[in-house]
Amino acid sequence: MTGQAQAGRPIKLLRNLNAKIASIPMILTALVIFVGGTFWTVFYSFTNSKLLPRLSFVGIDQYERLWAAPRWVTAIENLALYGVLSLVFSLVIGFMLAALMDQKIRFENTFRTIFLYPFALSFIVTGLVWQWVLNPDFGIQSVVRSMGWTSFTFNPLYTPEIVIYGILIAALWQGTGLVMCLMLAGLRGIDEDIWKAARVDGIPMWRTYLFIVIPMMRPVFITTIVIIASGIVKVYDLVVAQTSGGPGISSEVPAKYVYDYMFQAQNLGQGFAASTMMLVTVAIIIVPWAYLEFGGGRKRG
């Protein structure tokens, strides 16, 4: 580069200085908290730290123990099941509601507010309310039974096999409103002419949605998936409030395992090993995708 030869070429680092200064919080957060914190966590996952972090290395003992623990395996299975179902149902329900809302309906504002309000409530509250609505002794089951259908059984929270669906119901109740809003926004961004073209081509509504509109909403889906998925990985409060991981360990989730072992069992090493596994899983899924999506000097927009 002929940089030096040219009059007054400023130092590269100083160009856009304000932008760089303004980004310091972000850079610090990214480097110190997310990268630093992650490395710290990974590092200490190879120790047998108990209550306090300490540097006594035990190799991969923590990981061996982790994968031998039925609770961890259950938690991972639950997360996989819950994650897939929650992602799929959030998107499907959110999209369907948005599609319905997009039919130039009356009372759109009212419906939208109704679908969205649960998002204002915390998972603690959500868990509490649904724990109650689903309680077999005075919730839906007892009400239906008291109406005469005495063999009616709907007791997800105390039935290990389906408890995760009970949690799913509450999670969807809380989160689909937001997804609907995102989807609605995406639908509103679709060129009118596309709809017209599809109608002239004689393509039925559902096929237009499925084959034309949804693929066009890729960016919206991406934002939505980032938001939903980051929530799924972190799911904790909801489970604690609704079932405390029960009955037994049947609704355990990894985040809760991490928390319990770090703080209740006072085995930081184990907790760190578990979080490292979570991070690794997330990274395997996210990193290549994020690179394609946000990194790699992709063109603007």
Partner: protein, 314 residues
Amino acid sequence: MADVGTLNTTVAGIDAVAPRLGEGPSGAKPRPALSSRNIMLYGTLTIAALYYLLPLYVMVVTSLKGMPEIRLGNIFSPPMEITFEPWVKAWAEACTGLNCDGLSRGFWNSVRITVPSVIISIAIASVNGYALANWRFKGSELFFSILIIGAFIPYQVMIYPIVIILREIGIYGTLTGLVIVHSIFGMPILTLLFRNYFVSLPEELFKAARVDGAGFWQIFLKIMLPMSLPIFVVAMILQVTGIWNDFLFGVVFTRPDTYPMTVQLNNIVNSVQGVKEYNVNMAATILTGLVPLIVYFVSGRLFVRGIAAGAVKG
């Protein structure tokens, strides 16, 4: 399609006999209000709405009942006798340990935590998003990617490192510390939304302002901000909801006299004297959710608009 063509001409022949206005279809196609399409549409929406409203109904109804009535068992039946006792109790009388002033104390703590946290986290994230959209520099995309991946890290994992960092800086247990924590964890999603929003604004506006001599901050404050109301509303709603409802950080990074409302709620809901006072719990729950709910109702329309802008571009 030649056959269709001939078909058309034969049809034309029939029609041509007397195709005058008033015969045959004319004007708008009649669409009965109760068409099967409308029944499907509004039916589905109404059923969905009922599902979403059910828990709220249960909460409200229960909070207005007395305990004897609740023991009768039907959570869906409306209160026979409306009592506001539970609300009073939840707000001002419920005990946690030795403190019997209900949620009221936590309310103001929550306000004190939420207001600065929301403002600062949004301020930081919006500037980040703006820098990422308009002032890219080497590595900015990398930091952004890290941030997005950071969105997937469970909070619990980060508590220890953050406790240590805050301790080293010497702001552990202060409001500043908590505000920083909220800003950190709000940053990924908010930055994503802001970046997408600013990218969607015409780039030429930014260029015009630069030619006009405005710098980084002037462009941000005078050009970008006034155009960004929708996305700020979105960010505000997300942050008010998230921070107001936060329990984990509120309890780890504060002390008892500054506990937010959610900690108080947890204390009320989880510390029961024999029988759970469901009506008080429900009243407390509604009271706790009230602030975000009000924020929603006030700014719902802007929310959708803003989300649109923040999401459309990847």
